[in-house]
């Protein structure tokens, strides 16, 4: 499910089944030396999360990414975010990011950290198989959490 009117309506009717939220945490860097790398990471994270959404459409809602820069990162309070989403009916809240900073939260939160892969120079076939590979790596994270309960 995406965060759009149609899907949200379906979520409201099917809260028993759609019980997981996926929140991308997206780091933006506008410094001359980093801006290209930052955009590449953003592209990767957006493609991958869209692919995860396709795979788990009926159980997972992909929320628009929370974007921040190094200066504003402290303004993103992930614990509060998680709390608010749980109050809205999501049983599981996953954060997915390419920013290493969030790995320090792995104790309290479900943070999936992935190194970003530059997809821009690849052609469609290779891109597809790389994303498939990455997807296969994150699937167990979801399923183990789902079957725990």
């Amino acid at each position: 499910m995406f965060f759009n009117v149609n899907d949200v309506q379906q979520f409201q009717q099917q809260k028993d089944f759609i019980d997981t939220a996926l929140v991308p945490l997206l780091s933006l860097d506008f410094k001359e030396a980093k801006i290209k790398q930052s955009s590449s990471a953003a592209e990767f994270l957006m493609s991958l999360t869209a692919f995860i959404e396709q795979q788990f459409k009926g159980r997972l809602m992909l929320v628009p990414p929370f974007s921040y820069t190094e200066q504003t990162r402290n303004g993103v309070s992930v614990e509060l975010l998680k709390k608010e989403m749980e109050d809205a009916g999501f049983k599981h809240v996953f954060f997915i990011t390419c920013d290493h900073y969030w790995t320090s939260f792995q104790e309290q939160l479900d943070v999936i950290w992935l190194p970003s892969i530059p997809l821009e120079s690849m052609d469609t076939g290779v891109k597809q198989s790389i994303l498939q590979n990455q997807l296969n790596q994150v699937i167990p994270t979801f399923t183990s959490k789902w079957f725990q309960v």
């Binding site: 089944f17 009926g58 469609t124």
Partner: protein, 167 residues
């Protein structure tokens, strides 16, 4: 020779009719061509999309076949990649859509080790038989959709999504 002389009046008549005829033809022909154009148009082969899967390589075991086509959304053009599970049943090639009938997740062949000969949906444990028939007692309420299949140059071509014809 001398009694066949063309008078000035005749000469002008001939040239004017000739030039006028060309002009009329130049105006009418494109109109006629436009009018009959729908008949002359060669039909593109339905909406079939070619995949890279060879028909000869198919077995009775479903394999994942990715195919992409261009989708135009108002002014936004995008390359959409879709997937089908393709296998052979006798001589017939069958292509099933991987979209779960419950809430739209993607199903996988043999995704559950307890049921290696079924399609499995990881979201809520929905299961389907090889024909796409949903297994009672699991969340899905209908069978998997099917793709129209054609063959060209030994490659599988996939068409429109249709309701399952096998169950």
């Amino acid at each position: 020779m001398s009694n066949n002389r063309v008078s000035r009046r005749q000469f002008l008549n001939y040239t004017l009719t000739g030039v006028g005829g060309f002009m009329a033809a130049g105006m009418l022909l494109p109109m006629v061509r436009f009018a009959i154009d729908p008949v002359l148009q060669t039909k593109a082969e339905g909406d079939f999309v070619q995949t890279s899967q060879k028909v000869a390589d198919l077995t009775e075991e479903p394999v994942r076949v990715d195919f992409s086509y261009e989708q135009v959304d108002a002014w936004y053009k995008s390359e959409v990649t879709d997937t089908a599970w393709v296998y052979k049943q006798g001589d017939q090639v069958i292509a099933l859509s991987p979209v779960c009938k419950h809430l739209g997740c993607t199903v996988n062949w043999a995704g559950d080790s307890a049921h290696p000969d079924q399609f499995f949906c990881a979201c809520h444990g929905g299961r389907y038989e090889k024909t796409g028939k949903n297994i009672p007692g699991t969340p899905p309420t209908g069978p998997l959709d099917e793709y129209e299949v054609a063959e060209q140059d030994g490659l599988v071509m996939l068409g429109k999504k249709i309701a399952n014809t096998l169950v």
